[in-house]
């Protein structure tokens, strides 16, 4: 301290002021009521948080709609709490027990956000080759069945602060569903963007929701729909694949954002097509659903799984993800996206080697440093020890 002693109100008053802190505090606590305060869950903020992100949702199938032989739409009501609200473009992850397996699979929500507030979700499931879970759903889910879903997740949503005012959406097959949701949301006034939908199918019979899409485009000037058929030449449709030429033909003047949802083949094709447009990376967004498989002759490995202090030994194949091995063995993992993005399944790789396909490693820097993995996009390359919890 400086030579001259410092005081605030003189030494005497300062001392009194300090001593006062004891009585002030005692009075402060002593005069408060000895009752329980507002419960954390009862604050408006916490109620909304819980409503947006419930731990899980118990749903009942209220209606099933057949789309020729190609796909089925499932409509759900809630068994108890209101359905979690979402942004158009998000997906629901379902938890299923199939035989001895416990699996999670994600499906984009086709219904509008407003319909969730009115108590209904819709997803559409298409029959695909090697679709273990999709086939199971199509063959087994009936009206009145109870199913378990988690809260809506996903980042392929319109954000006016980031995206251009027009979304050019490229849909392939059942990848139409997030954009049907977006079109409905625009029509209901819940999203402010315009939508140009480029919907690729093999032929006109495979187009899902055609009449609704046509009527949305008809009545709402912000919505445009173009069908692009790859395997048939029909009048009133574009012929070919949704590539740079088609996009250029229908995209608006000025800035636009491209959103893509569809099967693997579509992404492969667009990888060479989209660069031709010279768009900045910020204007291109993908929703990727991966199959969790890789083409090769499987080598057999074993995985020691540690979960809450308990150890289990399970079998694994080199051509299937670590998450696949967990699912087969009936080990429950909090997985959601299956693409490495959401990080819910993050686990510690205690020992062993895994392969992560290029572009799918979306881990945090420190997770790489400490050998944490996202089992949904890792393939075993040796015997492993993995700690889930």
């Amino acid at each position: 301290m400086s030579k001259k002693k410092f005081s605030v109100n003189g030494n005497f008053k300062d001392s009194i002021n300090t001593v006062k802190l004891l009585t002030e505090r005692k009075k402060f606590i002593g005069s408060a009521p000895a009752v329980l305060p507002t419960r954390t869950d009862d604050f408006g903020v916490n109620k909304v948080a819980k409503s947006l992100h419930p731990k899980e949702q118990k749903l009942v199938i209220s209606r099933i709609e057949e789309h020729a032989d190609i796909a089925k739409s499932y409509y759900f009501k809630s068994e108890s709490a209101p359905l979690a609200y979402f942004k158009a473009g998000q997906y629901l992850t379902f938890r299923l027990e199939i035989g001895n397996s416990v699996v999670t699979r994600s499906y984009s929500i086709a219904s509008s956000p407003a319909s969730a507030l009115n108590g209904e979700y819709q997803i559409t499931v298409k029959r695909i080759s090697d679709g273990f879970v999709s086939d199971y759903i199509l063959d087994n889910w009936n009206v009145g069945d109870s199913v378990t879903a988690y809260a809506p997740e996903g980042n392929m949503t319109y954000n006016p602060l980031r995206d251009a005012g027009t979304i050019v959406a490229i849909a392939g097959g059942s990848g139409i569903t997030p954009f049907l949701s977006l079109a409905r949301a625009i029509d209901q006034g819940d999203e402010a963007c315009s939508l140009t939908l480029l919907y690729g199918c093999r032929n006109s019979d495979e187009i899902l929701f055609k009449s609704e899409l046509d009527s949305l485009a008809e009545k709402n000037g912000k919505i445009n729909v173009v069908y692009v058929l790859s395997h048939s030449d029909e009048e009133g449709y574009e012929k070919g694949f949704v590539g740079a030429d088609v996009i250029r033909k229908y995209a608006p003047e000025g800035k636009y954002s491209i959103f893509v949802c569809g099967p693997g083949g579509l992404y492969k094709f667009l990888e060479t097509e989209l660069p031709k447009l010279g768009l900045e990376k910020k204007y291109i967004r993908f929703e990727v659903f991966s199959s969790g498989k890789k083409a090769e002759d499987p080598k057999k490995f074993s995985i020691k799984v540690i979960n809450r202090g308990e150890e289990t030994e399970i079998k694994a194949n080199s051509n299937e993800t670590v998450l696949c091995a967990f699912e087969r063995a009936g080990i429950e993992v909090p997985a959601r996206c299956h693409t490495g993005e959401c990080g819910f399944c993050r686990s510690k790789l205690v020992s062993g080697k895994v392969y992560i396909p290029e572009g799918e490693d979306k881990r945090r820097i420190a997770d790489m440093q400490f050998n944490f993995i996202h089992p949904c996009c890792c393939f075993p390359e040796s015997d492993l020890v993995v700690r889930i919890n």
Binding site: L21, A32, P37, G44, V48, K281, R364, F370
Partner: protein
């Protein structure tokens, strides 16, 4: 199923992680329970596109690169986590800009005592004599707190030492920042600059305890600040790794549903799967608020605990905008690491205005590339904007209005940033994520989305908390750690209280063993 441990730690937030790591290091059989799938609580990160965003840390004080005074580094070393974290030192304290044309200012302040005093002299010629005296007091207060910090087992004889050796501390112990700065005769400009950090505690300086604030000034300006290269997630994961390396067990995706109390003593917990865990110590990194309203039977809660919770006020609610920009910091002109943008320099008024969505214009924004440019891919940058809300305005926002409300407030923050700095960022947003109070409630179970624990009000300032923590007994077997406890909120205080809680638990176990 019943299992037995020496200690159970509820929550892997900053306090819980350090407490766990300390207990395991001291050979205690410890179980750490976390309901989320990640360690850290607020101290985490997330990936969007090609960016990894820091979730909450602006700068870390307590690992002082300037003076080498590093109480946190000491803790991290002792528990075996230090060599797992890579620190980057910062040169800059903050750039402070006000929006109000009638109270316009733009101050860029460096870290380091001499550099800070010299820069302040440039903005406020003739100030340095007074500012030096203020720094003398700051350093004197720090000595007292070091003394208190090193008390492992309080004895009444120590009071005598405090009264004879720590008179400066005792004089100002119950004053606000404003009362003391005015007594020094500090000019308005000097006070505006010295008070720049007020938003980090969320309390106006007319009631914020001077000891509390001056300790923070010491930690930042004199000792210096750092950033962990792997974001705060690197600290959290390093602590978890140290904990498991020393034999600790951590269970994620697991919730505690009840703290078991027998005859006024906490003896264990019950988990969401029904498992009962018995332990000699229960370290609670959940807030006392949550413990009392969610985890304990009302009959088990002492009357004093209930009064404490009701007397105190939940502090600021958090809001953040995370931006991944597709231009480099140089290209955009983002030349500063920390931007404080306030409506004006009257922080009481700023605080009152922060109670409403329409009038809240407080923001603290960090450009991480100014700590280390390779935090994002070449040609890009990361901007992380935060605001605080006093009051509970967000509880009025409905589910249906949620997305629009948070997007509108984020837009206002971006507009304010552009207006204050003259830097255009809107067209370069490649990734954006917005965290509202609901987001903090979701991930940390914070009541009303509170990020700063209890308000550091006049009645509940840090000195009163420390004094009463020393002289009053809590519940045997139950130890609180984290942002709602004696040191108030923040990274450094939470790590510290985690360490203190573990030490107290170990001491009690040793006494019991004798």
């Amino acid at each position: 199923m019943i299992k037995n441990y020496d200690a159970i730690v509820i929550g892997a937030g900053n306090g819980g992680l350090v407490a766990s790591a300390r207990l395991a290091k001291e050979g205690k059989k410890t179980l750490l329970i976390e309901r989320h799938n990640l360690p850290g609580g607020f101290a985490t990160s997330f990936v969007r596109g090609r960016f990894e965003f820091e979730a909450s840390l602006h700068e870390l004080c307590g690992v002082g690169p300037i003076t080498g005074k590093s109480p946190l580094q000491k803790i991290f070393e002792e528990v075996g986590a230090a060599d797992k974290i890579e620190w980057v030192s910062l040169d800059e304290a903050f750039r402070l800009i006000t929006l109000n044309e009638n109270d316009k200012c733009d101050y860029s302040m460096p870290l380091g005592k001499e550099a800070f005093i010299n820069k302040l002299e440039e903005y406020d010629p003739g100030s340095s004599a007074v500012v030096r005296k203020i720094f003398d007091l700051i350093e004197s207060i720090e000595k007292t707190l070091d003394f208190v910090d090193n008390i492992d087992d309080f004895k009444p004889s120590m009071i005598k030492e405090i009264f004879s050796e720590h008179t400066e501390f005792l004089k100002v112990a119950n004053y606000s920042v404003d009362e003391v700065l005015k007594a020094f005769g500090a000019s308005k400009t000097t006070r505006d600059i010295l008070n720049g950090y007020w938003c980090y505690l969320g309390q106006p300086t007319d009631e914020l305890n001077v000891i509390h604030y001056f300790t923070m000034l010491h930690a930042y300006i004199i000792d210096g600040a750092v950033i962990p290269r792997g974001r705060s997630h690197q600290i959290s994961t390093a602590l978890l790794e140290a904990f498991t390396e020393n034999g600790g067990e951590a269970w994620f995706n697991t919730s505690v549903t009840k703290i078991i109390v027998k005859d006024g003593v906490a003896t264990g917990v019950v988990l969401d799967n029904g498992t009962q865990i018995n332990a000699k110590a229960v370290i609670c990194n959940a807030s006392p608020y949550n413990a009392f309203t969610k985890l304990m039977d009302e009959k088990d809660i002492p009357e004093k605990f209930k009064k404490e919770v009701n007397a105190r006020t939940l502090s600021s609610k958090g809001f953040a905008v995370f931006l991944g920009l597709n231009r480099s910091a140089d290209e955009l002109g983002l030349n500063n690491h920390t931007y404080f943008i306030y409506p004006n320099n009257d922080n009481r008024q700023c605080y009152e205005l922060s109670k409403k969505l329409e009038t809240n214009d407080v923001q603290a924004t960090v450009c991480l590339n100014r700590a280390f440019d390779d935090c994002s891919p070449e040609g890009t940058s990361i901007l992380y904007m935060t605001s605080i809300f006093a009051g509970d305005e967000w509880s009025k926002v409905s589910v249906a209005d949620y997305h629009k409300t948070k997007t509108a407030f984020a837009e206002k923050m971006i507009d304010n940033f552009e207006k204050a700095t003259g830097i255009a960022i809107r067209d370069y947003i490649e990734e954006i994520e917005i965290a509202a109070p609901m987001t903090y409630a979701r991930y940390t179970d914070a009541p009303a989305g509170t990020i700063y624990g209890y308000e550091s009000s006049k009645e509940d300032g840090i000195v009163k908390r420390i004094v009463f923590d020393l002289i009053e007994k809590g519940m045997p077997g139950l130890y609180f750690a984290g942002g709602y406890t004696v040191r108030h909120m923040g990274y450094s205080p939470s790590y510290t209280t985690g360490n203190l809680a573990a030490k107290a638990a170990i001491l009690a176990m040793e006494k019991e063993a004798k």
